[in-house]
């Protein structure tokens, strides 16, 4: 691992993983020379790993309403949502509330 990399963990649950190749956990190494926010992470996810029907995950520049985002187990609504700046080893969890009942 080089110092020029930003390592973070992604997690998907309650059906959100179905849109990402059915993989529940991923480790990412992002370009550490630039600043990463949740907004730029979502763009990266769209370009690289959102393989199935992006409209079920994204709406405009943000996640579709009904998908909950937790950063290090804290509601992203308390952390500035899209503006939150990702830190090394952050854990970003996406939970779908849109599946099942």
């Amino acid at each position: 691992m080089s110092a020029k990399e930003l390592q973070i963990n992604l997690e998907f649950s309650a059906g959100a993983e179905l849109l990402f190749g059915n993989i529940k956990r991923r480790k990412l190494s992002l370009d550490g020379t630039v600043k990463w926010t949740v907004a730029s992470l979502l763009k990266w996810m769209h370009a690289n790993i959102l393989t199935e029907r992006p409209e079920l995950f994204l709406q405009g520049d943000t996640v579709r309403p009904g998908i909950l985002v937790l950063i290090n187990d804290t509601d992203w609504e308390l952390l500035g949502e899209l503006e939150y700046e990702l830190q090394p080893n952050d854990n970003v969890l996406f939970i779908s509330t849109l599946h099942g009942g």
């Binding site: 059906g15 309403p65 009904g66 804290t74 308390l78 599946h99 099942g100 009942g101």
Partner: protein, 343 residues
């Protein structure tokens, strides 16, 4: 920089409640979430001491949280209830068989009795076989009608005093919207009721999570590490509800109180006496409650057994014509057979 819990317990807040906008820590959120459900149960007189209550358990997030919270409140507030789990097995391979495993986990975790009732044993048809016969256009109608009655039958077999279902605030707001869009005054009248049924002939249904937001239910399950099943039914999702749901989620983003607002609007609606109300009676064939004669479940079942699956889908007059036609054909064929046998 971390935000502190609003109740000044000194801990770090982990979530923003959509219902109140409060930032709370895990423990204060659990306490608030549970206290509100307790308040709903008490203020609406949902249960009485000594009653036996079936929790309609699908293995999904709502019924899993409902079973967990009811067990907890029953113990901490000494409701004196006997809680049992009631599950319906529609016979959908890759969906219900998996979710029933989750229900069995609930049974073991919560030490509650579990009764599983299958479409196969009740109706002689699994959803897999129904779909094989009718295709995927009206399968949700069959499934929904059969499930409603299956819960009643299961509850009767278990001898329970009421059935608790996991309908949450988002579900109810969605249903209000859908009933307005469809102009369904009969359902609009009933859909916000926290308790339905309960006459001489029906087992009451109660909705203890009526005022609980979906986001909070999911967060509660997440932080409590409750295991639930979250796969969409393998047969076509309910498209109409899907639209109402997406619309509601968009509204909620702009104004989180919209869910409560819609429920309250639904509760306040009053209908003129001149608006026709369906008369609830009992199906002459199966004996379960219905406003039609025979009930929808019996008509759908007759359609399946006659090989006329469209029977209960369209207008009743059309269905009656289909039955009459088939009876005539059968009579003709029987006569032809008789003629042949004479030789």
């Amino acid at each position: 920089m971390p935000i502190n819990c609003k109740s000044s317990c000194g801990k770090k807040a982990v979530l923003k409640r959509p219902k109140t906008g409060d930032a709370l820590c895990k423990e204060c959120f659990f306490a608030a979430f549970e206290a509100e459900i307790h308040h709903t149960i008490i203020s609406s007189n949902l249960f009485r001491r000594g009653e036996k209550v079936a929790v309609a358990a699908s293995g999904g997030k709502d019924s899993t949280v409902l079973a967990h919270v009811l067990k907890l409140l029953n113990e901490t507030h000494d409701y004196g209830l006997e809680l049992v789990l009631l599950s319906i097995d529609e016979g959908i391979t890759g969906y219900r068989d998996d979710s029933l495993e989750t229900v069995k986990q609930n049974r073991d975790d919560y030490q509650m009795a579990l009764k599983i009732l299958s479409y196969e044993e009740l109706y002689g048809w699994t959803m897999d076989r129904i779909v094989a016969q009718i295709g995927r256009s009206n399968n949700c109608t069959f499934c929904g009608v059969f499930r409603r009655q299956a819960l009643d039958r299961g509850a009767k077999q278990l001898g329970v005093d009421s059935i608790a279902t996991g309908h949450n605030a988002d579900d109810i707001a969605e249903t209000v919207l859908m009933n307005i869009l469809r102009g369904d005054t009969a359902r609009l009248r009933r859909c916000t009721d926290i308790k339905t049924g309960g006459g001489d002939d029906t087992i009451p249904r109660v909705k203890p999570l009526k005022y609980s937001y979906e986001k909070e239910i999911v967060m509660y399950a997440h932080y409590k590490k409750l295991v639930y099943f979250s796969t969409e039914c393998v047969f076509a999702p309910n498209a109409y509800r899907g639209h109402a749901r997406a619309f509601l989620k968009d509204l909620e983003k702009v104004r989180p109180s919209v869910i409560m607002d819609i429920i309250h609007s639904g509760e306040q609606l009053r209908f003129k006496d001149s608006v026709k109300k369906p008369v609830r009676g009992v199906c002459a064939r199966c004996g379960f409650v219905s406003s039609q004669q025979p009930c929808k479940a019996c008509v759908l079942l007759e359609g399946l057994n006659r090989g006329l699956p469209k029977l209960g889908i369209g207008k009743k007059s059309k269905g009656d014509r289909m039955i009459a036609n088939q009876d005539r054909e059968i009579a003709l064929r029987e006569r032809a057979n008789l003629v042949k046998n004479d030789f």
